[in-house]
């Protein structure tokens, strides 16, 4: 799943920076799961787009994954200029002890 996400984002957005993190282990899912991801994308395609539109581009590229195995996707979308201003990726901790019912609803994301 992770490699598919990477490949599709590469293809759709030609990112300068693409960082993908599988954060599934922080959630109540079986070991080795690929359900919760965080992605940081730096791409010139985001120029002139508001955050909502940027996220929609990422969602569109990953429609298949989001409709299937991927339960949660945190997105940071920056333009190259924004990346130069702040070349750090946020790592917001979303680990959460409560089960987020991923097992039950795995197929309905």
């Amino acid at each position: 799943v992770g490699s598919a996400i990477r490949a599709k984002l590469e293809q759709a957005l030609s990112p300068q920076v693409l960082e993908l993190r599988n954060e599934s282990s922080g959630h109540a899912v079986p070991p080795g799961s690929e359900t919760h991801f965080r992605v940081a994308v730096v791409s010139s395609r985001f120029e002139g787009l508001n955050p909502l539109q940027r996220h929609r581009l990422v969602h569109a590229a990953l429609a298949e994954e989001l409709a299937g195995p991927v339960h949660a996707l945190a997105i940071q979308a920056r333009t190259p200029a924004q990346w130069r201003d702040n070349p750090n990726l946020d790592i917001m901790v979303t680990r959460y002890r409560r089960p987020c019912q991923v097992n039950k609803h795995l197929l309905s994301a």
Partner: protein, 156 residues
């Protein structure tokens, strides 16, 4: 409008289940027990416009069932926004799928300000960090509590 009002209205809408159901178009991927008028576009449209601040969560503000939903609740709390309508999508699979179709957004939580879809957890967090949220709340006539806590504002 109080949070309890929001919940009361959510309950009212539950009573109206099925009344506004227009067809299966919005419910192709869910077959919740009994169907639900909450999933119709008209109904969701009314729902998100009924209160100034509307959120769709996994769980409740008191007991979020997911880290992202929890983050949304905490951000609103930081800004002193206590009166908002919160709907728990785990209560209703039709609502869960319906709101995703309505906003064309694949994940929960979802935040609506003044009837307009704002985004999910990441975007709300970003708006919180860059000050946009304070401005957007001001447009709704809500004064962010962070404006009053000017000493240690947003130390995150």
């Amino acid at each position: 409008m109080s949070g309890s009002l929001g919940r009361a209205s959510a309950a009212l809408l539950h009573l109206g289940r099925g009344v506004l159901l227009r067809g299966p178009a919005l419910r192709t991927r869910s077959s919740g027990p009994g169907g639900s008028g909450l999933a119709s576009r008209e109904h969701l449209d009314a729902l998100v416009k009924k209160d100034k601040v509307v959120v769709f969560l996994k769980g409740t503000p008191q007991q979020p069932q997911c880290g992202f939903s929890n983050a949304v609740v905490q951000i609103l709390r930081l800004h002193g926004v206590t009166s908002y309508a919160a709907y728990d999508v785990l209560e209703d699979p039709d609502l869960r799928q319906g709101i995703k179709d309505y906003s064309n957004w694949p994940t929960i939580p979802q935040v609506y300000l003044n009837g307009e879809f704002v985004g999910g957890c990441d975007i709300l967090l970003q708006m919180h960090q860059n000050g946009d949220l304070v401005e957007e709340l001001k447009k709704l006539g809500i004064r962010s509590a962070l404006l009053d806590a000017n000493t240690d504002q947003d130390s995150k």
